[in-house]
C-alpha cells in the first residue's frame, strides 16, 4: 500500500515538472521552425529566428552587448534587493507582531506597493543619485519588502487555535513562544512571499535599468536600447535570457521550500517520537 502511494506521488511530481517544461520546449520548437511566424504573420525583422538568437547567445553577445557583463549586473541588483528587502520586510513584520499598536505601518507599506514601478524607478534614481546600482537595488528591495512584511505578519499572528494558550499553560515565556511557535509558523508564509519577491525583484531590476541614467549596463538597458534601435536579435536574446533567469530563480525558491519543509517535518517527527515514544508499527 505504502509503495503504491509512493510511486503515484513520484509520477505526479514528475508530471508537474515535465508538462510545463514540455510546453516550453513546444513553444521554442514552434519558434525554431518558424511556425510562430506563420501563425502570427511575422517576418524575421519583427521576430528574429531562433537560430540567430542561439548564435548570438553562444557568442556571448556581439559588439554592442556582452551578455555576461549585463547578466552579472542585473543579478547583483536582484540578489541584493531580494536579501535587503526580505530581511527588512521580516523585521517590520516582527515589530508589528510584537507591538500590535504599530500594525498601521503595514498599511502604509502596502500603499508603497500601489506606486507603479515605472514611476518608482525615476524617483529612486533621484533619491540615490550617486550610484545607479544603489537606486536599482532600492527599487528591488521595496518591491520585496511589501509582500514579505505582509505575509510574514500573517505567519507570525495567524496561529492554530489554542496553540498559544497551550504554551502559556506550560509557563512558556514570551520569547519562547515567539521562537518555538510563531517563527516556525511563519516559515511557509516566508516562502509564499519569496516566490513573489523573486519575480518582483527581477521586474524591479529591469525596469530600474530602463529609467535610471547611468552606465549602459544591465539586461533592461540592453532590451530598451536594442528594441528601439532596431537590433532585434540582441534585444530578443536578452528578453529570453531574462525570462530564463526569472524561471530559474522561481524554481530555486520552490526547491529551497521543499528542502526546508522536509527538514522541518523531519525535526517535528523526531520531536514527536521523543515525547510520545517510538511508534509500535513503524
Amino acid at each position: 500500500m505504502k509503495l503504491e502511494m509512493k510511486s503515484k506521488k513520484l509520477k505526479n511530481g514528475m508530471l508537474t515538472v515535465l508538462l510545463p517544461v514540455l510546453f516550453g520546449v513546444f513553444l521554442l520548437l514552434l519558434w525554431r521552425f518558424k511556425a510562430l511566424h506563420a501563425l502570427l504573420g511575422l517576418n524575421e525583422s519583427q521576430l528574429p529566428y531562433l537560430e540567430n538568437i542561439w548564435v548570438f547567445i553562444k557568442n556571448g553577445g556581439d559588439g554592442t552587448a556582452r551578455i555576461t557583463v549585463n547578466v552579472k549586473s542585473t543579478l547583483a541588483v536582484v540578489f541584493l534587493g531580494l536579501i535587503i528587502g526580505s530581511l527588512l520586510g521580516y523585521f517590520v513584520a516582527v515589530i508589528a507582531a510584537l507591538f500590535p499598536k504599530s500594525k498601521g505601518v503595514l498599511t502604509v507599506l502596502a500603499a508603497f506597493n500601489a506606486i507603479p514601478v515605472v514611476a518608482l524607478a525615476p524617483i529612486m534614481g533621484r533619491w540615490f543619485p550617486q550610484s545607479a546600482q544603489v537606486a536599482k537595488v532600492a527599487i528591488a528591495a521595496i518591491l520585496c519588502l511589501v509582500p514579505m512584511s505582509v505575509n510574514a505578519y500573517r505567519g507570525l499572528t495567524e496561529l492554530k487555535p489554542y496553540s498559544q494558550d497551550l504554551l502559556k499553560s506550560y509557563a512558556a515565556s514570551k520569547t519562547q513562544i515567539f521562537l518555538k511557535l510563531k517563527l516556525p509558523n511563519s516559515v511557509p508564509h516566508i516562502f509564499t512571499a519569496l516566490k513573489l519577491c523573486v519575480v518582483s525583484a527581477m521586474i524591479g531590476a529591469i525596469i530600474g535599468e530602463y529609467y535610471i541614467s547611468g552606465p549602459m549596463i544591465g539586461i533592461g538597458k540592453v532590451i530598451r536600447n536594442d528594441l528601439k534601435g532596431g537590433r532585434l536579435t540582441s534585444g530578443w536574446s536578452h528578453v529570453l535570457i531574462a525570462t530564463l533567469i526569472g524561471a530559474l530563480l522561481y524554481a530555486a525558491v520552490l526547491l529551497f521550500e521543499k528542502y526546508t519543509v522536509r527538514a522541518v517535518n523531519a525535526v517535528k517527527t523526531r520531536m514527536t517520537e521523543r515525547t510520545v515514544g517510538k511508534r509500535t508499527n513503524g
Binding site: E44, S45, N52, S213, P215, K228, G229, R231, T233
Partner: protein, 403 residues
C-alpha cells in the same frame, strides 16, 4: 440558467468577440492617404512636414496626411515594418540595423545632409583641458577618465566610432543620458554625470548655452553660466565619424502595393516644398510647428529652427568653421533632400562606419557585410518629386565636391 441556454450564450459571445476583432483590423488607417511616423516628439526637427501641412502643400497634391509623433519607446523602424504607418523618419544607422536584421526598408530622401551630433564639454572643468575636448585634441585628451555620455537607442554609433578612433581611449563604455542635459547639472559623484555629453546641434546643445526655461542655466538658476565661450563643441563631421541622420524611409512591401509609389512621389513633392520653405524662412516655421502640436517652448523652437536649416542646406563637405563664420555655401534649393549616392559620399561613409562598428553575429552579420548603398537607397521617387516641383532633375554630381 439552463445548461443549453448558457452554452448558446457563450457561443454567441465568442462569435461577437471574433467579429469585433476583424472590425478592428478593418478600420486601421483608411481615413488618411499617408501616415508618417516621426522619429521624436514634434518639434523643429520635423519643421518641413509641419510647414507643408500648415501651408496646404499636402492638400495641393491631394493627400490627407497624418503626422504621428515618436518619442519614448516608439520604434519608427518597427512601425514602418509592421505597416501601421506608411512612411517614417529615422537615422540611417537604424535603417541599416533593421535591414541587417532582415527588413526590406528603403531610403527615399535624405533630409539632413549632414550629421547634427555634437559632443559638448565644459572647458577646463573636472580636469578637462582649458579648451575642452575638441576635434584638434581628442586623440590625446579623450582618456579613460573622461566620462562620455549618449542616449543609446542606435544614436551611439558615431560616439563609439570616435572612442575607437581616439588613441588615448581603451574604455568603450558610455553613460546613458536621459533626454535633458541633466548630466551637466549634477556633480561629479552623480551616476548621471558626464564630462563629454551628446547633444544635437539643434536641440540639446542649445539647452546648454541658452538661458530660457528648460535650459541648464535656467535650471541651475545662473543665467549665462554656460555659454559659447566656456562650452566646447566636438562636431562629428570634423573628426570623420559622422553618420547620416534624419531621412525618409518606407518598406519595400509597402512600395509593392499598387498606388503607393505615386502616393510616395506626391508626398515627397509636398514635403520637399515644405522643407525648402522652412529652411529658407526659419522664424516663420516656428508658427507652423506650434500649429502642428509642439512640445517645446516657442523660445526653444526659435533657436532650433535655424540650426535645423543648417543641417538641411550644408553638406558634410562644408566645414563647421565655415558654417559658424557664415562663409559656407548652401546647396541649391533643388537639391534639398537629395541622397548622396556617390562613391565616397555620405551614404557610403555611413554604411562603412556601420560595418566597422556594429559587430553583429550570425545572419545579421553576413547581411550587413554584403550590404551595398544600392540595397538601401531608391532615388527614383525623390527625382520624380523634384521634377514635378522644378521641371528638371539636378544630378548628385552638382553637390559640393567630396573632400
Amino acid at each position: 440558467m439552463k445548461k443549453a441556454t448558457r452554452r448558446l450564450l457563450i457561443l454567441a459571445m465568442s462569435v461577437a468577440m471574433a467579429l469585433s476583432a476583424f472590425a478592428f483590423t478593418a478600420c486601421k488607417k483608411d481615413d488618411y492617404d499617408i501616415v508618417i511616423q516621426l522619429k521624436w516628439l514634434p518639434d523643429a526637427q520635423f519643421m518641413g512636414y509641419f510647414t507643408a501641412q500648415s501651408k496646404g502643400y499636402y492638400d495641393e497634391v491631394g493627400l490627407k496626411v497624418k503626422i504621428v509623433p515618436g518619442g519614448g519607446d516608439v520604434s519608427e523602424t518597427q512601425a514602418v515594418i509592421n505597416g501601421s504607418v506608411d512612411i517614417g523618419v529615422t537615422w540611417v544607422s537604424n535603417l541599416i540595423a533593421a535591414n541587417a536584421g532582415g527588413a526590406n526598408l528603403v531610403l527615399v530622401s535624405q533630409i539632413f545632409q549632414r550629421s547634427g551630433l555634437y559632443l559638448v564639454s565644459r572647458k577646463g572643468e573636472n580636469g578637462l583641458p582649458a579648451e575642452g575636448i575638441t576635434a584638434e585634441n581628442y586623440q590625446t585628451a579623450l582618456t579613460d577618465t573622461v566620462k562620455v555620455g549618449n542616449w543609446g537607442y542606435g544614436n551611439e554609433y558615431e560616439v563609439l566610432a570616435l572612442l575607437k578612433k581616439a588613441a588615448s581611449r581603451t574604455d568603450m563604455t558610455y553613460i546613458g543620458q536621459d533626454f535633458t542635459m541633466h548630466c551637466f547639472e549634477v556633480g561629479t559623484s552623480d551616476a548621471a554625470y558626464c564630462d563629454l555629453a551628446s547633444g544635437m546641434s539643434y536641440n540639446e546643445y542649445l539647452l546648454t548655452i541658452k538661458d530660457y526655461e528648460g535650459t541648464v542655466n535656467h535650471n541651475l538658476g545662473v543665467p549665462g553660466k554656460y555659454n559659447t565661450d566656456n562650452i566646447a563643441v566636438l562636431d562629428m563631421n570634423d573628426v570623420g565619424v559622422a553618420m547620416l541622420e534624419d531621412c525618409l524611409f518606407v518598406s519595400q512591401t509597402w512600395l509593392d502595393k499598387s498606388g503607393n509609389e505615386e502616393k510616395l512621389t506626391k508626398f515627397l513633392q509636398a514635403s520637399l516644398k515644405g522643407w525648402t520653405y522652412a529652411a529658407n524662412h526659419p522664424s516663420e516655421a516656428v508658427g507652423h510647428i506650434t500649429e502642428g502640436g509642439d512640445t517645446n517652448l516657442p523660445e526653444h523652437q526659435t533657436s532650433m529652427t535655424p540650426e535645423v536649416a543648417k543641417l538641411v542646406k550644408y553638406t558634410p563637405a562644408v566645414s563647421s568653421a565655415a558654417i559658424k563664420a557664415g562663409t559656407a555655401t548652401a546647396i541649391d534649393d533643388k537639391l534639398i533632400g537629395v541622397v548622396d549616392t556617390r562613391a565616397g559620399g555620405a551614404v557610403e561613409q555611413t554604411l562603412q562606419l556601420a560595418k566597422d562598428n556594429f559587430a553583429l553575429t550570425g545572419t545579421d552579420a553576413s547581411r550587413l557585410a554584403a550590404m551595398k548603398v544600392s540595397d538601401l537607397v531608391k532615388t527614383k521617387y525623390w527625382e520624380d518629386a523634384v521634377k514635378a516641383l522644378y521641371g528638371s532633375v539636378p544630378s548628385v554630381s552638382e553637390l559640393p565636391a567630396l573632400a
